[in-house]
């Protein structure tokens, strides 16, 4: 209907019209609810900030781990700072013969220089000072420093030999030389080549060394006797950890979904929105997948997999609708003509139809995805704690079931021509905290609490309502570690 001047006049008058209100009274009435909204919005913002920060920290940690962590072995570490040579024994096992050249006695006797050197070694996760210099496993670092100083203050050159095992790298020999001091003192060989695992062997070797110590001047003997008491536990083993560890696994779990239905811009289908909100309810998300994991020894890992998620919803609608209509040219009555005959009176006959609508459907959205995530894990004995964050690339989305099209009918969302749902979802995000337990050398069981967030609507552009999801759930997994 074309709007005439009557309507235009009313529109212009009413549009401009304002009514005085008691703002303070209104504000007082809505303030508690506004506060609640602010708190909820803040929580949401904080959550996303937390997720973002967590992801950033993980990525940064990963980069730092990759670029700054020195992947060299223990012996090589020492070699970097202290002029070390590395040799192989006949059996092919790695033997590190380490020569630590100290520059002067003064430098050695300064605790700060030694401590700083120790810090370097410790920071890079190499063989800790206790393992090189301290025969006793329960000896503290401070004791080690003390011992090093004692060595150098009494003997300008000394040699410490550590054994090598076939399956482990053992520092075979550490030769500590003082190049600054020219006076030559006898070399003390504590352990000549190989040592066995038996404690008695060490005791035996310790005894064989003693006569050499006896040859030293008496002034230097005191310190040597001190060392001798700790000789038996000189043998130190360090496990050779691989740089990368690869594992594959399968997982399955359940999650609770949270759906957000909203009108798109310029859409006024608020009735449909209200109908859908009241007739549909969220159910569970069933999640299954396989994954491959590449973990660096620094703790950083990369996860990639293939994942299938089934998001379930229930659509229930029960209503009656009376359709009022009429049919033309129907007999609607009788009358008698002048002759007394009964004649039909034709006209529009009412045709009311009562529609009883009853829907009870389970709707499913099937997601097939490739999740890619990075994370950081920390091993503690048999337990493994980790966190990860990443993106989920959707391969396909298939929807099955029915939803309301309007108050009187429902559409089949399985039919792609009618379905308001898209068949491929834009990038979504996922993060989780996981806990693993090493059952055997190769088998690990895991449990993960995860959160997935789909920032984009899964409905197409022509549909007036946007439909977004996020879900939180728990996955259990079994992994095989190579």
């Amino acid at each position: 209907m074309k709007k005439d001047i009557f309507y235009k006049w009313h529109k212009s008058s009413l549009e401009k019209h304002t009514t005085e209100v008691d703002v303070d009274a209104i504000w007082a009435a809505i303030e508690p609810e506004v506060d609640a909204i602010n708190v909820s919005n803040k929580k949401r913002r904080r959550f996303f900030f937390f997720l973002f920060s967590l992801s950033s920290i993980i990525v940064l940690t990963g980069f730092i781990g990759l670029f700054f962590a020195n992947p060299l072995s223990t012996a090589q570490h020492i070699s970097t700072d202290n002029n070390i040579t590395k040799t192989q024994d006949k059996e092919g096992t790695q033997i590190a013969e380490t020569t630590v050249e100290t520059k002067s006695l003064d430098q050695i006797s300064q605790p700060s220089s030694i401590e700083s050197s120790e810090k370097k070694v410790d920071k890079r996760n190499t063989l800790p000072p206790t393992t090189i210099f301290s025969p006793s496993s329960n000896l503290k670092n401070g004791d080690n420093n003390e011992k090093i100083r004692r060595h150098h203050s009494h003997a300008s050159t000394s040699q410490v030999h550590l054994g090598d095992e076939s399956s482990h790298t053992i520092v075979e020999s550490i030769v500590i030389k003082n190049t600054a001091q020219k006076a030559v003192t006898p070399t003390i060989i504590l352990n000549e080549k190989k040592s066995s695992n038996q404690e008695s062997d060490f005791l035996e070797k310790g005894r064989t060394v003693l006569p050499i110590a006896d040859q030293l001047p008496s002034a230097e003997l005191g310190s040597l006797i001190y060392d001798d008491e700790e000789l038996p536990s000189l043998k130190v083993e360090t496990k050779k950890t691989p740089r990368f560890q690869f594992s594959i696994g399968a997982y399955s779990g359940l999650a609770l979904s949270n759906r957000n239905l909203a009108l798109k811009n310029n859409s006024e289908e608020n009735e449909l929105l209200a109908l859908r909100e009241t007739t549909e309810r969220n159910l569970e998300v069933w999640n299954n997948g396989v994954k491959a994991k590449l973990a660096h020894k620094s703790g950083l890992f990369l996860n990639i997999g293939l994942q299938y998620s089934r998001l379930a919803e229930n659509f229930r609608y029960d209503t009656d609708h009376l359709k009022v209509d009429s049919i033309a040219n129907q007999i609607i009555g009788f009358s008698n003509n002048l002759l007394g005959d009964e004649v039909n009176v034709k006209g529009f006959a009412p045709n009311n139809t009562l529609f009883e609508l009853e829907y009870d459907f389970y709707n499913y959205h099937h997601f097939l995805d490739i999740p890619v995530s990075v994370g950081y894990q920390k091993q503690y004995k048999l337990w493994n704690f980790g966190a990860r964050a990443g993106v989920v690339y959707n391969l396909s989305l298939q929807s099955k079931g029915r939803i309301l099209e309007n108050e009187y009918s429902a559409i089949d969302i399985s039919d792609e021509t009618n379905s308001p749902f898209i068949n491929k979802v834009p990038l979504s995000y996922e993060g989780g905290l996981n806990l693993g337990f090493r059952l055997t050398k190769h088998i690990e069981l895991g449990v993960e609490a995860y959160y997935r967030f789909l920032p984009n609507s899964i409905t197409n552009d022509n549909y007036s309502i946007s439909q977004k999801y996020n879900w939180t759930g728990i996955n259990t997994s079994i992994n095989y570690l190579f």
Partner: protein, 184 residues
């Protein structure tokens, strides 16, 4: 004086002072919309509060595209419609005996006081008032009104005509008969 854009951004951040300013700035306009749809002053006040809460809930969704005032109007109208019990529309039959429209000359209309017009519109029966407001002020067409109120388009048209007729009668009562005839 804080700009509208800053006000919106601050409200999105949850700044209470800005939220209060927003209420202060837009409440008079919103109240007028509410009054047009509400049965009485109390209901108008309830609709206003509901609309304001809806605005603060959804203000993060406002991306700055289009007029903020227009967005507020839309939300207020929707909130008002939600308040109105629509059940009576379902059983509403097409009106019979729709009054014939009076001839209206395109003369300049008198600059009536807005409050008088508001009172006139508010005095209409609810079903006519809602259709009149939706069609005349909030620019819904009859198809949209029919969808929104779940009535037939024909019903919407007849309600509008009824509302118009009633308003004309009210104006006739209020003013001199001759003057009104001249005006419409």
């Amino acid at each position: 004086m804080i700009s509208e854009k800053t006000l919106i951004v601050n409200c999105q951040k949850g700044d209470k002072k800005s939220q209060y300013l927003l209420v202060k700035k837009y409440s008079p306009l919103m109240m007028s919309i509410c009054r047009r749809y509400a049965r009485d002053q109390d209901m108008a006040q309830d609709i206003l509060q509901e609309s304001l809460i809806l605005i603060f809930k959804n203000i993060n969704k406002f991306e700055g595209k289009g007029s903020f005032e227009g967005w507020i109007r839309k939300i207020t109208v929707r909130a008002a419609l939600q308040w109105i019990d629509r059940k009576w529309y379902r059983n509403e039959q097409n009106l019979v005996g729709i009054p014939q429209e009076q001839e209206i000359s395109a003369e300049t209309y008198i600059d009536y006081d807005g409050e008088i017009i508001m009172e006139m519109v508010m005095s209409l029966p609810e079903k006519y008032r809602v259709v009149f407001n939706l069609f005349v002020v909030d620019e819904y067409n009859h198809t949209e009104i029919a969808e929104t109120l779940k009535i037939k388009e024909a019903t919407s048209r007849s309600h509008l005509l009824r509302a118009r007729k009633m308003l004309q009668e009210k104006y006739l009562k209020l003013y001199n008969k001759e003057n009104i005839r001249r005006a419409f």
